[in-house]
Amino acid sequence: MAFDIRKIRDDFPILHQDVNGKPLVYLDNAATTQKPLQVIDAEAAVYKTINSNIHRGVHHLSNVCTEAFEEVRKKTADYINAESSDEVIFTRGTTESVNLLSSSFGETFLKEGDEIILTEMEHHSNIVPWQLLAQRRGVTVKVVPVTDAGELDMQGFSELLNEKTSLVAVTHISNVLGTINPVEEIIALSHTAGVPVMIDGAQAIHHVLVDVQKLDCDFYAFSGHKMYAPTGVGVLYGKRKWLQQMNPYQGGGEMIDKVSFSGTTFNDLPYKFEAGTPNYAGVIGLGAAIDYLRNIGLEDVWAYEHELFEYALKQMSAVPGIRFVGQARHHTSVISFLLGDAHPFDVGTLLDKLGFALRTGHHCAQPLMDRFRISGTVRASFAFYNTREEVDNLVEALKRVAMMLG
């Protein structure tokens, strides 16, 4: 074993508790991940020692706090290998990153008749902002179909790409199926057609190494809370050439150069897109999460999670009546399933009473549910702090639940 699971679990205080009289087994990591003490302490330390509004003060605390905040911008740029830290915009999360992009990119570059390509496996937060834009600007949303295995139909994608396409926005990894999409290929094909690409990295950033320069994506969005960082902080990476041309998103303090009623000029990148006081404590927590992930090593995380996934898939296959949704060749440690004809809500409710936290329902991906003609799934999503023992216990619980609902 590349790392010491006991030691890792000790870093996550929340895992050590009973729920409904049973030891908690947390398998809802695709919804949000738990936070290690290193992250919790880093955020608390801001309030205990350096709290002060950033970028504004001449005083000591403000300077220290600003420095800590900007340090994380560099660290984040480095983590995703951005060319410059100016290309890292802090947001509230993936949702806000997509809204920023749809608004600013949309208002700046899109015109009536243009097309945006999404996929059938997008999270609602990478669908609805584009639909709103479509309504405002008279652009059309095109959708890449998903195959029975839960993979993107790349033939279908190529067919959609045309001279009217002005943006491709696709998820790196499906939050429901765990499918890892061929984003390199999508980006290369799009660029050949002269079309920029946004990747929704909410489910990827803590599982796979993301190198935005190697990917050559134009935009990359992700959330802190899914990568062991505090909630309320996220990132939009964008290539400078786009960001520079794009209109601001929200107006307010920080994002301006000079304000007057005869005309206001805007600040430089990245501040142009960061109106108002940011969640600097959360950002500093994000920095601690990046340190934490780097410290254990994403390659080791990947290897551990994959082994756990393979084990879980094998063990869970023995549960009577279980049906897996999605069988992608490339995937993360997410298992979506159904138990016979049982409603996911029933399965999830009973599992909860046995101490297991799993997600049930449509997972904010209703078009994908429609694609598979189901109303929802039960989803187990594993993180590196989960164990084989937890998998064994889950399988026992599932057998019991299957019997009760059978």
């Binding site: 409904n20 009289g21 049982a342 409603h343 996911p344 809500f345 029933d346 409710t349 009973l350 009473k353 046995l354 049930t360 329902g361 109303s375 929802g376 019991r400 009760m404 609902l405």
Partner: protein, 141 residues
């Protein structure tokens, strides 16, 4: 039996179990035993669509009493529907409107009451009371 007495009966049945799984087994059993729902009534206006599950409630007035039919696509929710119908169906509009439903709390199903769960009891109770109010208005005409 009054609505109050019926609730006390339900509470007694559930008090036999202290394990959650046993309580839910009973709910599942009640769900399975619920009278089948008349397909003709499976209509949009009888549907309460929750975030995760669907509930159908249909009410009719017979001899001054409201008879309610219900169904759900989730068996645990259907069990809860069965309990509600057992307590409220067959009563007059006034009895239903005046009822105070305390059994839900007592048997520990309070989490299903949370207002954000639109598949929850709150929406169902609201719907049944709305039926009662409508029938009462019609009666008084």
């Amino acid at each position: 039996m009054t609505i109050k007495e019926k609730q006390q009966e339900v509470i007694e049945e559930f008090s036999a179990f202290d394990d959650w799984m046993d309580k839910y087994s009973l709910l599942i059993e009640l769900g399975n035993e619920l009278d089948s729902f008349d397909e003709a009534n499976r209509q949009q206006q009888n549907l309460i669509e929750g975030c995760q599950s669907k509930v159908w409630l249909h009410a009719e007035m017979n001899d001054g009493k409201i008879e309610i039919q219900g169904d759900s696509d989730a068996i645990i929710v259907k069990g809860i529907v069965a309990l509600l119908l057992r307590v409220l169906s067959g009563h007059t509009p006034d009895e239903i409107l005046d009822s105070d439903l305390f059994f839900i709390d007592e048997i520990g199903l309070k989490e299903h009451l949370s207002p954000t769960r639109s598949n929850g009891l709150v929406a169902m109770v609201r719907q049944i009371k709305a039926y009662a109010l409508a029938f009462k208005a019609r009666q008084n005409k």
